[in-house]
């Protein structure tokens, strides 16, 4: 607690006046010779307990009332961080969330949450006197001694970044640091409690809690919650980009604040290779996904650019960066015996007119000699691979390739990556296997970017082979059995489809389902070539190897070279071009619930300071003299009530008659 007029606190000595008067009164007693002593002795014996307590309460009320009055006059300021119990703390470990979401402003014209909390920490550290301040920022995750709280806001390690945060790991780091630092410590977790940064279900929390619990001196944990109202904000996010010949297909998403219901116009600026164009985007609701085709300059081998929207509540989510390299043909391989299935798959994988798409069929017996270096997708319509072929396919998956398996029509054989086919099953006579439901938001059967669904309900099958094994279902037959499953294998994906484009099986070959399904998987497979130009902040791809240098190519915003590793932008790592964007999780608006926070920090005895992020309270210090004045009133009111005479005072005789005669 701080005082604006600390000198007035000397008058606190005056609070002892009632006690001094009481003691003086007791010493300055008057001597009186008394006749009715027997009643005095009896009264003295009986008047202990309540009476004395009442007397002491009156004395306490007077003393506390005076003390509160003097404290109020000294204009106390209480720090929300320290509360009333700010005491001798040796070390404060500040775990600072520097993620992109922390740059949102509580209101128009105000500082971002990160700066607000830094200012509050600075003020609070002043109250702690000589306590050490150690910073663990979410971007680097490394403990760093802060020489003075005054320079806290000027450190590059407290500056804004586009990174994400992992609080379980950060808390573990704090515990590791405190294990080597003796003394009374506190851990302050400054965060906007974004669920993606906390991940309360993450198993690392158990390790973090155990690390804290094992410390010789358990630190106090305070969560400085920076939630609450924010300034209006819109964000733009790159969903993906793919080069197709002389065009760059960029999938974008623009999101607005949760309370934005009315359509609005948003200027979208596109900067590609230094050329800037602006167009108006109509955002009908909270979110708009769209694809933008950018015509690339003729014979452009590689390039970069970014999309940006005007500055708003959070300046860190107003740009989406992209980069591209030379156009590469989309190659796929069909492993199937010659026949109807292979023909349909070839048509779907390389439709006539798509010059940059090439496919090749090889016989299953030659699968072991498959050259996967430039292949994006393998369409496997044969018994599951074994031996060398299986190893080759596994390596392909690990490298980011896509493999889609179609039923071979043979009884189950050796599983591949613990997945297998069930036995071929024909439909009942005059009945079909019908696709019942499928995931409209995820997977190759998802709705189009304009929201229109695929006509997958037209799919009918008279024969099927059910995929078995641990994989997520994306589409189901009418009887609940899986039609399409997905298994993520390292960077690649293994798909199983329960029917095959053969009229002895189904009408899958009619192209309503097969073409978009195969094309989308092909696009995914191609991303492993284009993806080398795109990454997110903090990923391994952004890290420089020994001898590498990083240089920034874009001039969006005001880049801080010291934080290049944690910023979104277009970078060149030696010869490698890289567009770095913030993690998609940073745009997720979900805030950690109190229950989830309790679960994550259970056993730490943490204190949640929810007011830390309120726009109306830019500092954690509050003038609390009014509270003391109220306390003064309460104390004196209580004293007056205690001093009130009883309603029924004891009367020795009903009326003080001067003489009374009792007739016997």
């Amino acid at each position: 607690m701080l005082f604006l007029n600390p000198l007035l606190l000397w008058f606190l000595l005056a609070a002892s006046i009632p006690v001094v008067i009481h003691l003086l009164n007791r010493r300055r007693h008057k001597t009186i010779h008394w006749a009715a002593m027997q009643f005095l002795l009896k009264a003295t014996r009986e008047s202990r307990g309540k009476k004395k307590l009442r007397h002491f309460l009156i004395l306490a009320c007077r003393t506390l009332g005076l003390a509160a009055l003097i404290v109020a006059a000294a204009r106390p300021i209480v720090s929300g961080l320290l509360g009333w119990g700010g005491g001798a703390i040796d070390v404060v470990v500040l775990v600072l969330d520097r993620s992109a979401s922390m740059e949102i402003k509580p209101g128009d014209g105000m500082n971002p949450r990160r700066q607000i909390v830094l200012e509050k920490v600075r003020e609070a550290m002043k109250n702690l006197g000589s306590a050490r301040l150690v910073l663990i920022d979410s971007a680097s995750g490394l403990p760093q001694e802060v020489p003075s709280p005054d320079v806290l806001a000027e450190l590059s390690s407290t500056a804004a970044t586009d990174s994400s945060a992992d609080f379980a790991t950060l808390l573990t780091r704090a515990a590791e640091f405190l294990a080597e630092t003796p003394g009374r410590a506190e851990v302050w977790l400054a965060s906007d409690l974004q669920t993606s940064n906390w991940q309360p279900e993450n198993e690392r929390w158990a390790a973090a809690r155990a690390s804290l619990a094992n410390l010789p001196q358990k630190p106090a944990v305070r969560v400085l919650s920076l939630t609450g109202a924010t300034a209006p904000n819109a964000s733009i996010r790159l969903l993906g980009s793919r080069r197709a010949a002389d065009e760059l297909l960029v999938d974008l998403e623009v999101s607005r604040s949760a309370d934005s219901q009315v359509a609005s116009n948003l200027p979208l600026t596109t900067t590609i290779n230094g050329t800037r164009t602006t167009e108006t985007l109509i955002v009908p609701g909270q979110s708009l996904r769209f694809q933008k085709r950018l015509a690339l300059p003729a014979r452009s081998e590689a390039g970069s650019g970014w999309f940006s929207i005007p500055a708003d509540g959070n300046p860190r989510d107003n740009a989406a960066f992209f980069a591209y390299g030379p156009a590469l043909p989309t190659k796929s391989v069909i492993v199937a015996p010659a026949g109807e299935t292979a023909d349909y798959l070839a048509l779907a994988a390389a439709p006539p007119g798509f010059g940059n798409q090439h496919t090749e069929r090889i016989d299953p017996s030659q699968a072991a000699s498959l050259n996967i270096a430039e292949v994006s997708t393998v369409l496997w319509a044969a018994p599951l691979p074994t031996g060398a072929a299986a190893d080759q396919l596994s390596r392909f998956l690990a490298a980011g390739g896509q493999v889609i398996c179609f039923p071979p029509g043979t009884p189950p054989a050796t599983p591949f990556l613990e997945l297998n086919w069930g036995p071929p099953t024909p439909a009942e006579k005059d009945k079909y296997f019908i696709l019942k439901d499928w995931n409209h938001n995820d997977g190759p059967l998802r709705d189009g970017i304009d929201g229109s669904p695929l006509p997958a309900d037209r799919l009918k099958a008279i024969r099927r082979q059910i995929p078995l094994g641990d994989a997520s279902q994306l589409a189901r037959w009418e009887d609940g059995e899986a039609l399409l499953t997905r298994r993520i294998v390292d960077r690649g994906t293994l798909w199983f489809l329960a029917s095959t484009p053969d009229y002895t099986w189904s009408n899958l070959g009619d192209a309503d389902v097969l073409l978009p399904l195969v094309q989308r998987i092909l696009a995914l497979g191609s991303e492993r070539f284009d993806a080398s130009y795109l990454t997110t902040v903090g990923s391994d791809a952004t890290k420089t190897l020994p001898g590498q240098t990083r240089s920034r190519l874009d001039d969006f915003g005001s880049p801080d070279p010291a934080n290049d590793a944690y910023l979104a932008g277009i970078f060149k790592l030696n010869d490698r071009l890289l567009a770095v964007n913030r993690s998609a999780a940073e745009d997720a608006p979900e805030i950690l619930s109190r229950d989830a926070l309790d679960a994550a920090l259970t056993g730490t005895g943490y204190t949640l300071l929810e007011q830390a992020g309120q726009a109306s309270d830019p500092s954690l210090s509050r003038d609390v003299w009014r509270a003391f004045l109220i306390a003064v009133l309460c104390f004196f009111l209580a004293e007056a009530l205690l001093c009130l005479p009883k309603k029924t005072t004891v009367q020795v005789i009903p009326t003080l008659v001067k003489a009374e005669t009792l007739k016997s």
């Binding site: 007791r26 007693h29 006749a35 027997q38 008047s47 020795v652 001067k658 005669t661 007739k663 016997s664």
Partner: protein, 297 residues
């Protein structure tokens, strides 16, 4: 005036009121008070049948003429009254809060009533008691006796613990004939023991009057600061914040007064609580008036 506790004008105003005994007295000379024996006064008492040996002069011949039976006509015997003033001379009687000292008030009551009694032909005596009955002035009807009584009262110097109870028992034992016992005390003793002493007096058929002397400050117990209370009888001291214990003190005093009244009532004693700041004349006038026989009102 030789004695400051005597007020001539007060005595002259009160002299019109006689002091009456509530019970028949057994004096040694003729007087104005009823005797338990039959005598020769003009006051008719009763008829009774003649028995051999009766004085034939007392036969009611008119009654014989009417009924042809012998009846003796009896008359009340009048005798004088002997009063014992028992004055408590313990240390507590020296207390003078807002009124005058209780002992001074006792002197004024005892002296005034003694004067009135002797003036109407009755005898007045004095018993002074401290921790034991230590001084007695035997009752006498002579006017010259009053001077001795007054000088004894004037020389009283209360001190030490009270010996009232022992004094009352002693009087009850020593005074065999019926007498008028007037007790002047603050009665700061055990009510039960006081009741026993009064019952002892009552058993001896004495007429008892109790003047309970209290200072107004003892009743109100109002103080504005802590006090060191020193016992006037044994000098024990107690430092107390009076406001803290006022209620308990008053409750204890109330219980005491109630008990004392009850004991007086049980012993058929006149009880008068007297505050020492009260004027004496109304007090005595009321006391004397209350003792008048109903038929004489």
């Amino acid at each position: 005036m030789k004695y400051d506790f005597l007020d001539n004008r007060l005595l002259s105003r009160l002299s019109t009121l006689p002091i009456e005994a509530r019970v028949p007295m057994m004096g040694n000379v003729a007087g104005k008070h009823r005797s338990p024996h039959r005598g020769s006064s003009v006051e008719f008492a009763e008829y009774r049948k003649y028995v051999p040996g009766d004085d034939t002069r007392r036969l009611d011949w008119k009654a014989f003429a009417r009924s042809d039976r012998f009846y003796i006509k009896e008359f009340e015997a009048d005798t004088n009254l002997r009063a014992y003033f028992v004055v408590d001379a313990s240390g507590s009687m020296n207390f003078a809060g807002r009124g005058e000292a209780k002992i001074q008030f006792a002197r004024r009551i005892a002296a005034s009533l003694s004067y009135l009694l002797v003036n109407q032909g009755d005898a007045a005596g004095l018993s002074i008691c401290t921790n034991k009955l230590h001084l007695e002035v035997p009752p006498s009807r002579r006017a010259a006796h009053l001077d001795r009584l007054f000088s004894t009262l004037g020389a009283l110097a209360p001190s030490g613990p009270t010996g009232l109870l022992e004094a009352l028992h002693t009087i009850a034992e020593k005074v065999s004939q019926r007498a008028f016992v007037v007790i002047l005390s603050d009665l700061f003793t055990e009510p039960a023991a006081l009741g026993d002493a009064l019952q002892h007096l009552r058993y001896r058929k004495h007429d008892i009057s109790v003047f309970h002397l209290l200072d107004p400050q003892e009743l109100s117990f109002e103080f504005d600061r802590p006090h060191r209370f020193v016992d006037m009888e044994d000098n024990t001291a107690l430092v107390i914040e009076p406001n803290l214990i006022a209620d308990e003190y008053k409750a204890a005093l109330r219980d005491f007064l109630t008990a004392v009244r009850a004991k007086c009532h049980d012993a058929a004693a006149d009880y008068q609580m007297v505050l020492t700041d009260a004027p004496l004349e109304p007090l005595l006038r009321e006391f004397l008036t209350a003792r008048l026989p109903k038929s004489k009102h």
